[in-house]
């Protein structure tokens, strides 16, 4: 047992090898520190992306739009789906147009090399660039507020659950409402009404303020036979 301070050796460095290519078939590359394999991966990926985007294919733009729409729908519903889908579709076409304006050395060599250099050197939050980008996009696409894994509305945002609600009066209503009843039935009104015979049906109106004419009668209960129709017109 030691009574003094000593260093404790950490071996984590050997588990993060920096893989580089220094030569190909015995020929040294003209890069002093070698070319990192990660850089090559990024450059290849960027080149493929540039080639695909510069084709301005509607199918590819549609695929990107669909991916965007799916992500948007999962977080912001139909509105998010439309918006993210449109951004994906139009963005892919627009980038294709911009790439088309560039000369081929710029498009096929300089752009992928720049992208690979940037991605290889940047490690925001201690993570590789692609992981950071994925998180950055996902945090913007997914709902901001959760209770465990269930999305919930953000404070201050009002969510209307049923914007259109149909309300129908029932027998407890204190006022007379429009209605049409076909017999057989027995109608009981809360207060007396005027029954006016019309063509093939009976019209019921409020008794208050009504001047009675011939053939009209006041009633509180109306018995309807088979097929007879009553229309309530307050």
């Amino acid at each position: 047992m030691s009574d003094s301070s000593h260093p404790i050796r950490s071996y984590q460095r050997i588990f993060r090898p920096d893989r580089r290519i220094y030569q190909i078939d015995g020929r040294r590359l003209p890069v002093p520190g070698g070319v990192p394999l990660e850089w090559l991966g990024w450059a290849f990926g960027a080149l493929v992306l540039v080639l695909v985007l510069s084709q301005r294919q509607v199918v590819f733009a549609l695929v990107l739009g669909a991916i965007g729409a799916l992500l948007g729908a999962s977080s912001h519903g139909a509105r998010g789906a439309v918006l993210a889908g449109a951004v994906g579709f139009l963005g892919a076409l627009l980038v294709g147009v911009v790439l088309g304006w560039l000369a081929w050395p710029l498009r096929l060599i300089v752009a992928p090399a720049m992208l690979a250099t940037l991605a290889g050197q940047a490690s925001p939050d201690g993570r590789p660039a692609h992981r950071y980008l994925t998180s950055w996009v996902s945090v913007r696409l997914r709902p901001a507020c959760h209770s465990l894994d269930r999305p919930i509305p953000v404070e201050g945002v009002v969510h209307v659950w049923a914007p259109q609600v149909w309300v129908a009066p029932d027998e407890h209503s204190p006022v007379l409402h429009h209605g049409r009843v076909r017999g057989p039935a027995r109608l009981v009104f809360g207060r007396p009404v005027v029954v006016i015979p019309a063509r093939g049906r009976l019209i019921v109106r409020r008794a208050e303020g009504h001047r009675m004419r011939a053939g009209e009668r006041r009633a509180e209960v109306i018995e309807l036979s088979e097929g007879q129709v009553v229309e309530v017109r307050p």
Binding site: D3, Q23, L29, G126, E155
Partner: protein, 408 residues
Amino acid sequence: MTFPLRYAHGNVLVGRGGEAAGLYRLAMTSYPYLPTGEKWALQRRLQRLAHTIAADFSLWRVSRAYPADRYVQHTAGLLDARHQEPQVWQTFLEGHRDRLRQLGSHIPECYLAVSLAAPGHAGVGSGLVRSVDRVRRRVEELAGIGAESPISGGELSELLTREQRIFERVGGVIGARRARTAELQWLLRRASCRGLAEPELDRHWQPDALIMQTPGGGVGFQPLGHDLARCANAAITEQQHTLAVDGEQGRCYQAMLAVGALADAPEFPGSTAEVMFAPLEAVGFPVDAVVHARWLGNRQALAQVRKRIADVEHTFHEQVQGAAHGPSLLAGEDRVLAREYEAQLQAGGHPPMLYAFIGLAVGAGTEEELERRVAALKEQYGDITLHRPAGLQRAMFFEHLPRADGWL
């Protein structure tokens, strides 16, 4: 990113994928007052613990607010009434209590969760099997067909037997006792009021399960997972680098940090080696820390290190033959380091290897205070970088909850 627990039976935690762990509360030591020799002894004991348990484990270092209100009650009896005035003593203690309240004093506690996976699960290719299993579960969840089957009585009693074995192993190396249900509740509930207040506990809380008759005629337990989930279901609003958590005690702001690469040869005893102690004690506010460690047996560790030896040798020879300035100093050092580690693994004790993640969680009542605390903490860690990953804050929040699968 779902709530990690499905059931808890005493101190046995059961995860959503069937993973199980025994939860223990570790005895604390007044470390700063130990002589250097004793600090080394403690360090070796902890090292032996990782060796002895022979399983994946998680370690939580959390802070409990000192119960200042009970200070007077606890200390009033220390008075010698023959020579002292009780009234003066009472006033004196009340002064202490008020000061303790102002300071927001807290006491650290350590909890250890050890995997109860069957020994065969740690074999060759277990990582691949676990990854495939995780993907399958995720697909099932997305498709809505991920049914959770009841835990059979036999399965539960087997888990309890394994837990007993693990408990004996842990207890043989360091002071520990089984975590209580109230402590599990506290660990779950405190996450939503971290840095703000102490959670209010329900004295009668107990995670429940429906007892069922299984087709084979035995007894099965269908856990009522919401008993556990409702302890941590606060509304979490995720911002780029911060979480706003609306719990029962009010809104608090939290930042989740990941400890970056440790120093290559930190001095022990010393703050660079004591990453779970010195910087956390140096700041005047509570900080929670968690370690999730995946345990690799000696044979697997050796296989890993030999691959790395091949890697470093290859890099060195590539540099010798191809680099314009010859091999770099680091490439040469890495060769020595890899061989040295291989020799250590082959030494008498046949030690295991750990893959570990260290996370920190800071909470505060306001965003400004949170930023101040994070800056103070980063300053204490010095050369060790603390990352605050954007987009992973919510996922990391769940890493600080007691769980049975933190190492996956």
